[in-house]
Every structure is written in structure tokens, then in C-alpha cells.
Symmetry: C2
Subunit: 721 residues, 2 copies
């Protein structure tokens, strides 16, 4: 295999090794020449461009459009002051564009960031407009229009109105000032702090283009495990330089605030949020931040979680802490994103209950410019979790979603897992807090509870790797996150299809199987890592590979054994009501009664969450008629087999994509298959050591004895915290 790869590389030296080789840098922002015989829409509907206006955002919108149109059509598209005939494309706001103003379009529903793309007549000539109330809306409209062409959609009779359903749409970069990215699997941070503010890597511009193209409007530059140094003048200068690059693209800069910064930077004796000196320090610090970055977005804060300082150090609440920062930010229009990912430093309580336990009682106690940022599940970005019970439980407090785009628990960058499927599952989950249809998406978009602030955050998977995300297919997760932040009701399948078409090919022989493979990939990883509602079986610290046997770490909830609770009799974490006599943690009670009742009953609990909520005997009968043991083993086997299917699907695409990306995806799928088998074998070996049951027919025994898997060590696995 390796020799074959090498020879293939050598044979294609002329192409594959030049700087122009296809390396994925272009993401989904590709405008290669289209055969106009196949797709002539642009020649008809975007013959020339009428786009007045000179703001930086209009400049970049126009530049992107011209770049896209000229790339796709293979000829320069003229920018004109007035259309010369049919087929002009009008771009702008009514304020900047007299032609658009003359159409009297109703742009109210477009709001601050939305846009209208419509086929119209201007001065009697058929034309297309991309119109918005703001320059940012125009930019988003441009990317939508280009997407239509990139995915070969008809451009006649367009009438698209699109506006984001959430207001704060941010990537959270867990990037340290030394460029190490916590849970990063794509190289080091793209922020070259040492050379900032003097050297502005052109990559920053491409980052901003990518962000704007999927509707993201903010970036948190620094790790939630925050470093007060990022708030010193030298680093504010650096952040300001990035903000200057991003500004034309509508992307605002946010920073993480280390709660103890008043002590570390200010020399104060306390960081008590009710201390007047502390409040004054933050106020002055925030004023200073805004002197550097006039449109600074605000702070993201991780407090009293995993050792981070916070208000509880002073016997204050999360609300006290958040509100202190909010007060300092409010005069400038800034916000606080306060994370609900907390677990006590000496917990006896079920970890899955802690975020709810700490935050639900604080509902209504947060200032108006605070969002509480809630991870999608109650624990921590597992391949599958039920939705967090906080969604629906804080009607008076804007909750924003925190998804993880980087694949901390999902095989890092070498496993192909399309997270759009995971995001959609969470967003469509029904909290039932206001009856059927009270989906998480309706919580997040503010509609269910009338939130004034709304938002969605994704923990970035971006690094210095040439292809941004470490793997070509991980670009799809960045893409899907952005699209779902804009519209939490969007279909992950439709998004995958757009992404495949824009990123790889419009060839239907390619699109269909590849989209299908992406959609199946999430279930595959659940199966080969944590089927049937299992969770947190990954290796200690780095979360690479299986380690279900680990049970000797200092804190109980650091141990995989804490989560699966397998023994000779059975497996699973009982979270049913204590009245059941099974010692349940009653985590189910944190959900609305209808959901709670479902999760409380093993017979009603969806099988894919069964062991999350219930400890059951190995002999427990499953819907299939098989025992739980057999079912568990078969799921592991199915997951590993599915990756084999994915490899074959990809192999069939040889020649339909460039050789470079084909080769990397193929190599990564080979790694994924090897590691899926490793997961399968290690977990089966371990659980069998407890269940003492035979493997169901047709499942091969693990390749090695359990001790082999237990002896594997990965001290240099990437992305460590």
C-alpha cells in the first residue's frame, strides 16, 4: 500500500507536487470553469454587474462575486454603472444602489443580516437583484448566489429571502497564545500571535471569507481555558489587527476572559465579582479593549469548571460573575457568553446532572446582555448524548448552543464523521416544555421563550494545516455548523449535498454516494465507539482510542468505568427515578415530564440512548429479540464494518476527484477502518472480560488479548488540554 502510494506520487510528480496541487486550501469556495453547454445560467442571469458603493464590505462582496463569476464562466464579468441589456445582476442596499431603491422591495424580513435574491425587471429588462438592508446582508447574499451557481441551480425566477435565525454565530477557538490548540487536530493555531500585529497573514482574509460564506459573524480568538495575558495591551493590539482584517467580512472578534485577571493583571487581592475594586477594574479593562477594538463582540467565559477560577471562589453565583462583566460591556454593546459546562471539583452527584443543577435555578438572574452557552449534551461532546436538559429549562435566560466542530471524542481528524447529522439530531430533539414540537432549535432561535439574544457557538476545528481542518471531510463540519447556526431548521442532508457539490463535484455519480456515506458516518462512529447510549470510553487525557477499562483516575467522573458501570451482571448508568430501587441518579427528572417519563422507562427509552439512562443486565432482551450483550457486540461489529463500506464507497470515486484529495481521504479512511476495528476489538475484549459471555455468531474474536489493548500508550497524541 505504502509503496503503491509512493509510486503514484512519483508518477504524477508534475502535478501533485507543485504549489498549485489540490490541497484543500480553497474549502468550498471554488469557482472552477463550468461548461456553459451544461450550465449556462450565469451567461443569462449574471452577464454584468451593477454594484455601486464603496464601503469595505461592499468592496469584498463585489470582489468575491467577480471572482466567482469570472472563475465559473471563464471570462471577466464587467462591472457597469448601468445595465446594457437583459441579464444584469444588481447588488447592494437601497441606500447605496438607486436601481435597487427604485424597485421598492420589501426588505423588512431580511432584517439586519438577511438578504433577498430575486428575479426582477429593471427598466424593462430582466435582471436579478441581491438586495439587503445592510452591507453584511449583501455579502451573505453574494455567497448564497454563488452557491446557487456552484451547485448548478437554475437562476431564473429566483425569490429567496433568507435571514439568520440566530444573532450570535461564532466559532470558539480553543487556541492558546503559544499556538497550541486544545483539542486541535489540524496543526497549530492559525493566529500567529508572535508576529501580530505587524504581519497579517493573507490566510486571515481567507478565514474571514469562509466564515462569511456560511453566515458566521463572530470568532472567539482565545481558549476558554483562558490566559489573562490576552487582555494585556500588547495582545489587544494583536487582536485588534485581526479584527481589522475580519471587519469587512462582518466577523466580530471576541475574547475569553480569565476570571482572575483582576488579580493576575491588576494586582488586586480578589476577583470577587461584588467587590467594587474588581468591578472598576473590569470596567476600565473593557473600556481599554474597546479603545483597541471599537466593535469588540464581548467575552466568552469558562468559570468554576475544570479548575478555572470563577465567582464561586468567592461564594458568588455564576450570575454574579456574568453580570459583573455584562455591566462593563453593556455601554459598548458587548455581550457575555457564559458557559454552563461546569462540574464541581468534588462531585458526588451524577456528572450529567450538574450543569442543570447549577444553572436552572439561576434562570432570570442574568443581565440582558448575557447568554448562557450550553453544550449540546449533558456531559461532553460524545458521539451521542441526549440533548441537555437545560434546553427548555431556562425560559428567562437566553441559552446559546455550543457544538463541538473539532472531533475531540470522535476519532480526531482521521475519522470521517459528518457532524451535521449529530447537530440536526440535537436541534430537532423535542424538549416538550411547551408541548409537542418544543424543539431545541426553537429554544435556540429564541422563538419558544422569546429570547432577545440568540446564538450558536461551534468549537473550531481549524488549524494551520493546509486544508484548515486536518482532513478534507472535516471541512464539512465547519460548513454545516455555519449553515445550521444561520438556520437551525435546515436539513443536514441538504447541507451535505451543497458542501459536496461545492467542494468536490456536481457529478451525480459522486454526489449521491458520498452524501450518503457522510450521513451514515455518524452512526458508524457511535457504533464502533459508544453504541447503545454508552459514553466517555476514550483514552485518558487525549481521548484517543478506547480505554473502557480505566477506573483508577483521581476523580470518579474522569474514569470510563464511571460512565459505563459494567460488571459481571450488566452495563449502563442508571439515571431513572430513585423510586425504582435501582439506585438511579434521577437525571431523567431534569427533563420535561413527558420526556422524563420516556427516558425513565427502559422499554420506552430509545435504544440508541438506552445505556445512558439505564443499567441493564447482559441478558436484557432488546427490540431485536437479542440479548443486550449480543446487541452490544453486534453494534461494535456493525460500526467497524460500516467503515469498510465507507472505504469501498470512496474507492469507487477514484477519478471523479483530483488525485491528491482522493489519496488523502483514502488514506484516512484506511486509518479509520484500522482504528474502528481497534475500538471494536478492545471494547469487546474488555466487556467480555466482565460479561463472560460468548460472542454472537459471525463476530470474530478480538485480534489481541485484552492486555494488549490495555498496554497501548499514546503520550504524544495531538490536541491535549
Amino acid at each position: 500500500m505504502k509503496n503503491r502510494f509512493l509510486l503514484a506520487c512519483i508518477a504524477t510528480l508534475g502535478v501533485s507536487l507543485s504549489a498549485a496541487a489540490e490541497d484543500g486550501y480553497d474549502l468550498w469556495l471554488r469557482y472552477p470553469l463550468v461548461d456553459s453547454a451544461t450550465y449556462g445560467e450565469l451567461e443569462t442571469h449574471a452577464r454584468e454587474l451593477v454594484a455601486p458603493g464603496t464601503t469595505p464590505t461592499l468592496e469584498v462582496a463585489r470582489a468575491e462575486l467577480l471572482r466567482g463569476l469570472s472563475g465559473l464562466t471563464g471570462k471577466p464579468v464587467a462591472r457597469v454603472d448601468a445595465a446594457s441589456g437583459a441579464g444584469a445582476l444588481y447588488l447592494g442596499t437601497p441606500k447605496e444602489s438607486p436601481a435597487i431603491a427604485s424597485l421598492g422591495l420589501s426588505l423588512q424580513r431580511a432584517g439586519e443580516e438577511g438578504y433577498l435574491i430575486r428575479s426582477v425587471r429593471v427598466a424593462g429588462q430582466p435582471a436579478t437583484v441581491i438586495a439587503a438592508n445592510t452591507d453584511a446582508g449583501v455579502l451573505y447574499g453574494v455567497f448564497h448566489f454563488l452557491r446557487l451557481a456552484q451547485t448548478r441551480q437554475p437562476l431564473a425566477a429566483l425569490d429567496i429571502l433568507s435571514a439568520p435565525r440566530t444573532r450570535i454565530r461564532v466559532l470558539d477557538h480553543w487556541d492558546n497564545l503559544d499556538r497550541h490548540v486544545e483539542r486541535g487536530y489540524a496543526g497549530e493555531s492559525i493566529w500567529d500571535w508572535h508576529k501580530l500585529p505587524d504581519w497579517l497573514d493573507p490566510r486571515y482574509i481567507d478565514y474571514a471569507r469562509a466564515m462569511a460564506s456560511i453566515g458566521l459573524n463572530g470568532t472567539v480568538l482565545t481558549n476558554v481555558n483562558a490566559n489573562a495575558t490576552s487582555l494585556t495591551p500588547a495582545y489587544l493590539d494583536k487582536a485588534a489587527a485581526l479584527a481589522g482584517v475580519f471587519r469587512p467580512y462582518g466577523v466580530r472578534v471576541y475574547l475569553t476572559a480569565r476570571f482572575s485577571a483582576p488579580i493576575e493583571l491588576g494586582g488586586l487581592k480578589t476577583a470577587d465579582p461584588l467587590d467594587p475594586g474588581v468591578r472598576a477594574w473590569w470596567k476600565a479593562k473593557v473600556d481599554e479593549v474597546y479603545r483597541h477594538i471599537p466593535d469588540f463582540g464581548g467575552f466568552l467565559v469558562k468559570a468554576n469548571s475544570e479548575g478555572q477560577p470563577g465567582p464561586q471562589d468567592y461564594h458568588r453565583t455564576h450570575a454574579d460573575g456574568a453580570n459583573m462583566l455584562a455591566e462593563a460591556l453593556a455601554p459598548h454593546g458587548g455581550i457575555v457568553m457564559w458557559r454552563a459546562f461546569v462540574y464541581a471539583s468534588s462531585a458526588t452527584e451524577d456528572r450529567a446532572k450538574q450543569a442543570y443543577a447549577e444553572f436552572a435555578p439561576l434562570d432570570g438572574k442574568f443581565a440582558d446582555n448575557v447568554l448562557v452557552q450550553v453544550k449540546n449534551g449533558p456531559i461532553d461532546f460524545q458521539p451521542r448524548e441526549p440533548f441537555s436538559p437545560l434546553f427548555g429549562a431556562m425560559p428567562k435566560t437566553p441559552l446559546m448552543m455550543e457544538f463541538q466542530v473539532t472531533k475531540e471524542y470522535l476519532g480526531f481528524s482521521t475519522h470521517l464523521v459528518y457532524l451535521g447529522a449529530l447537530y440536526e439530531e440535537v436541534l430537532r430533539a423535542d424538549t416538550f416544555v411547551k408541548g409537542k414540537g418544543s424543539t431545541v432549535a426553537r429554544v435556540i432561535d429564541g422563538e419558544l421563550h422569546g429570547y432577545k439574544l440568540t446564538g450558536m457557538a461551534g468549537v473550531a476545528n481549524i488549524g494551520s494545516d493546509r486544508n484548515w481542518s486536518g482532513s478534507h471531510f472535516d471541512q464539512a463540519n465547519w460548513y454545516a455548523f455555519g449553515r445550521l447556526a444561520w438556520d437551525p431548521f435546515a436539513s443536514s442532508q441538504a447541507i451535505a449535498e451543497d458542501w459536496v457539490r461545492m467542494t468536490f463535484s456536481n457529478d451525480p455519480r459522486f454526489v449521491k454516494p458520498v452524501v450518503s456515506m457522510m450521513l451514515d458516518s455518524r452512526e458508524a462512529v457511535v457504533d464502533y465507539m459508544t453504541p447503545l447510549g454508552l459514553a466517555h470510553l476514550m483514552g485518558t487525557g487525549h481521548h484517543y482510542g478506547p480505554a473502557p477499562w480505566v477506573s483508577d483516575l483521581a476523580r470518579p467522573e474522569w474514569n470510563p468505568a464511571y460512565y459505563h458501570r459494567a460488571d459481571a451482571d450488566g452495563i449502563g448508568f442508571e439515571r431513572g427515578p430513585p423510586g425504582d430501587g435501582k439506585g438511579g441518579s434521577n437525571a431523567v427528572a431534569q427533563y420535561a415530564p413527558k420526556v422524563a417519563a420516556q427516558f425513565a422507562d427502559p422499554k420506552k427509552t430509545p435504544e440508541n440512548l438506552l445505556l445512558w439512562f439505564h443499567h441493564l443486565s447482559w441478558g436484557h432482551k432488546m427490540a431485536s429479540g437479542r440479548t443486550l450483550w449480543d446487541e452490544l457486540v453486534l453494534r461494535y461489529a456493525r460500526g467497524a464494518a460500516e467503515v469498510g463500506e465507507m472505504r469501498r464507497t470512496w474507492e469507487a470515486q477514484r477519478g471523479r476527484v483530483d488525485a491528491e484529495r482522493f489519496a488523502q481521504v483514502a488514506a484516512y479512511l484506511a486509518i479509520q477502518e484500522k482504528e474502528a476495528q481497534w475500538w471494536r476489538d478492545a471494547c469487546i475484549a474488555y466487556f467480555q472480560s466482565l460479561s463472560k459471555r460468548p460472542l454472537p455468531a459471525g463476530v470474530p474474536p478480538p485480534a489481541h488479548p485484552l492486555e494488549y489493548y490495555q498496554s497501548q500508550k499514546f503520550p504524544y497524541a495531538p490536541g491535549r488540554g
Copy 2:
């Protein structure tokens, strides 16, 4: 400035932001179309290619040649079995190529790796041959031939015989298994250990091409501050995968050996090199390494230096340690490169004397397959040092040169400093050990002492940054190192000119001033950092920026104050003979008598090394007639001013190179100028606080008081150890 840059980027969006933008990835391996009216040599002399042979090395040689010829001429160049007329290019060894064999060329002087490029007649037709005794020689010849074309040399009447003057020509990568590069300023390690051996980044091939193109034949993959894990089976698999990629390019893989590995990996109680169990462990380990990598090159070892374990832990000598490893490697043809960079953990002796003191007495005690690797100067890769007194002092022990290509003490990647000038200065230095003309180059190439093994090592400046070296001009240092390793007598100016022509442009309006700027750049950095023989004034730990005031570190020789010894009366480190009554360390006595006499006398010591060897009063009269104080200040001022000149030189090149590289170089030069002024001001402020003397006329006072410079902290400066 920043806005202008941003607008320029936006204005050129179409070009500058595409994946095909000029980002420096191609290094000097560029074959852009040449106007045949200007340079028609290839059409005449490389019309078609006769190149039989199917070995992997011949395959890559042929592929590179075809890629180069077709790029430069803009048309595919045919590979034929027999020439169709005049102007064929013959490639190969006499063994593989009957046509070359038929010429009866004398290839004896080409040796194992050299080549002959000659204009000949084959079957009556004018032709050119690239002939060698080995495939590797053919590959090197191909790169030479391409260089002739890239630099627009005539291709008629060629008669070039070139063979390397050193045998081991390696890059030392100080790369850790977590991808952090110690003293790396170009991103993280290009070795993606986590994904190896399964994923072979195509970049590995381009690395090997670049190495071969400048004649380098080895790479030490791992940091000299070694990690025993790199010798475990999993990591040997990974190293073997890299070796497989590099093999066709003649690049061998070496590893660093942690001396305590028998304890850490083998569970032994000792790593005593005379212990039979330890010797057996290393023998078995080396056998295992060769099972993974049949052509493994050998070990590089840093022992008993800066806290690393070594034979002295067991009261054995460096020779004992090296010979133990050498014994294990010898049956496989492997070598040991044993570093002479040592300084005792509790030194009272002048640090500059320690390497000599420890190693010179061991001359003749090392096994035949050991090279002692000596840094160019007695201390540590300073902007200027005298040559190490070990050169010439170990006639019975092969000494190899260790240069630093990465700019640990020379402003990191943002300072333009052409190190070819530094290397050449060292190589041309005369040790006088066998009379006049006993240059360091003649030590290194083995000629002076009849060494059987010879070598040169460069500490790599390569990382994951797209342009490899962190800056475009730092590529020149990699290039120059390779060329000088091949031929230590080569001219750094000629090398710079080749590099400029290959990397940027053959336009004489560009070549001349840019080469001149490169040659001047080294003296500039000496002047603005450490003029007149000063050394080691850099910031603690990271070596970023000036910190001459530091004097409170635990070990005396960690402190800048240890090196400059400035006080109210004067400055400099007295290394003259103790008989002078000046408390000299007598380091001069480590040199041959003639050199020692020169360095012992301040009046004969070159001014550029004056304060290295002598402590002199501030009022000491210099050759210029000025006082030492005035001269020192003026050197600082001159260095900073020179960077201003460099900026202007570069600015005048606008339009003669692509916009992307132009912009980055310009931005970096702006950083360099700012930092050169910082160096000037901080050092002047500090030394003036001691000398209490007024600044010479025309030199502006420092921009800030001394306390300002002393308060600067850079906790996240890159490349830390």
C-alpha cells in the same frame, strides 16, 4: 500601513487568495516558462532525453528533469530510446546507459555521489551527458543541470565535474514527538508523527526533493534533547515510513539516541556504557532499528550537556559512550555523531573553554565510525563567534561541523540574515595548526588530517509553515547550508546569487541589489545585536530581543552579564593569558600558537572579535581613533540604520517579484527594523547606565528609559526549548 496592506490584498483578491497564490512553497525548485528568445539554450541542448533505467532514484531524477525542462520550455520534452538528432540530453550511469558507457568517460573523480556534466558527441551528434557512477550522482547532476538553466547559464561546451567534499551532509531537526520544534520559527514539525506511518504527507516528497537538490544526504528526524520513545517499535515504524519516502532521493534517516534509553525502555538499572547488559541492550536495539530501516544512518547524541544523561553519569568518557553505540552500529554500516556541545553542570571555568577541555584530550579514542560534531563557535550559535578551537585540535578524530540554520540568536524568522556569510567566514578561518592555510574547511573536508569520515550538520529551520522556513529569505540559509556542505570552499556570494535567481528572478536589476543586501545583512545583525565581539545578550530562555542586564539566573553562564562583563570601567570578556595580570581565562591558549598570539593581544585581535577576547576600558582607543564606548554605540546605530537600507533596497524591487512574497518580505523587514531599533536602544540604554558616558554626536538617545526595556516580557515567544 496595515490598512494599505489590507486594501492591497482586497484589490488583488482574484490572485492573491487563491490556492495557487505565490506562497514560497516551491522554494528554489521553480521552473517557470522562459522566453526562448532570451534564453534558448534548452531548446538547443536539451531537446530530448535519453534516460534508461528503472531504479527509484533514476525515476525521480528523470521525473525532476522532465518537470524542469517542460516547465522552463513550456513544452513536453520527449523521453526517447535513441536520439533523433543533435541536442539530446543523456542521463545515467555507464551501467544503465549504453550510450554513456560507450563514451568511456572517466568518472573516477566523481566518486560515490558526484557527477559529470559534459558536452559531447554521441554517434556524431552534439549532445550533453549527465553521468555518474551511482544513481544518486545522477540525481545530483540533474539538479545541477537544472540550476544552470534556472540561472540562465550557457549550456554549450559544458565540462563540470562535481563531487561532494564531505560524506555526511545532514539536517538536524530539533523536532519533538509532539511536533514542537525547539528553536523552530516556522510552525510545528513537518513530521506528523501521530498519523505516521499510515499517512504520508506529499510534503515529505518535496522535502526530499529540496534536500537532494542541494546535495544533502541525511536527516536527523528527532531532537538532540532526545526522547527514548523515538526508539520504540511504533516510532521506528513511523521513521521507517519516512525513510521509505526519502530513499529514492538519497536521503538517509538518522535518529537521536537518548543515552538513558536502556533504563527508560529496557528497564535496566544503569546506562553505563561499559556495562555488558547495557551494551547488549543497545546492540539488540540497533539490530531492531535496522530491521525497520535497512539503510538507517546512525545516531546523533547530545550527552552530558544541559541536563541530558550521558556516560559521565557513570564516570565514563564521551569516547566510552560514543564507542558503545558505534560498536552496535558498525556491523550495519551506521555511524555516531557525538556532539561536542557540552558544558558542565557546575562550571567555574570559562564556558568558551569547556568543549575543548573535554574533547581535545579524547583525540584518537573514538571508534572509526564516530564523528564528533562541533558547533562553529566555542559558545552557541551567536551572530559572530571566533571559530571553535576544537577545529584543528583533534587530528585523529573526524570532526564534523554543526551550523545552525534556524536563527535562534539571530532574530528568528522575521529578521533577514543571510547565514551563508557566517558559514563562509567560519569555514575560511585559518586554524594555522599546520601552518598558514589550515582552514576550518580543510579540517571539515578531511584533507588536513586525513579523516576517513567527514560531515557537516545544519540545525534545520524547517517547519509546517507554508514557505517551509518561516520567511522567504530563510530558505536561502537552508540552501546555502546544503551547498556549503557539498563544497565548504564555495563562495557564499555565488550561492546567494544562484538562490536569488532560482527563487525570485534573473532580472539583473533585482539580482545585484538583493544579493548585496543579503551579504550585508549578517554584519547588520551583528551590529545591532552584539557588535565588536559581544555575545549572548539575548532574552532569557527564548533568546528573543535584548536583555544584556540579566544577571540573576541560577547559573553564571546563563546570564548575559557573564558574557559582556560590563561595569563602570569597561566591557568585554578577558580571555587572554593569565600572565597579563588581567585575570584572563586563557581561552586563547586553546588555539594554535600563531592564532593564540593574535587573539591574546587586543591590538592584533580583529575588532569584530575584540570584546570576545578582551575586557577593555570604555575609553580604549579603537582603530578609528574613537573610544570603545563611542565605537560600540556607533555600531549599534549602524546596524539599525543598515536595516533601514535593506528596507529601501527591497522597496525598490516592488513589481519585480510577485506581490505576495514582496509583501511578506516587506512586512518582515519592517518588523526587523523596529526590532533592530529596539536592540540598539535597549543596549545603549543599558550600557550607558554603566559607562555614564554621553552618546557620540548624531546618535539619538533611546526612545524609552532603560526600565521600559527591562520590563518587556515575552512568555509566548516561539521555539522555546
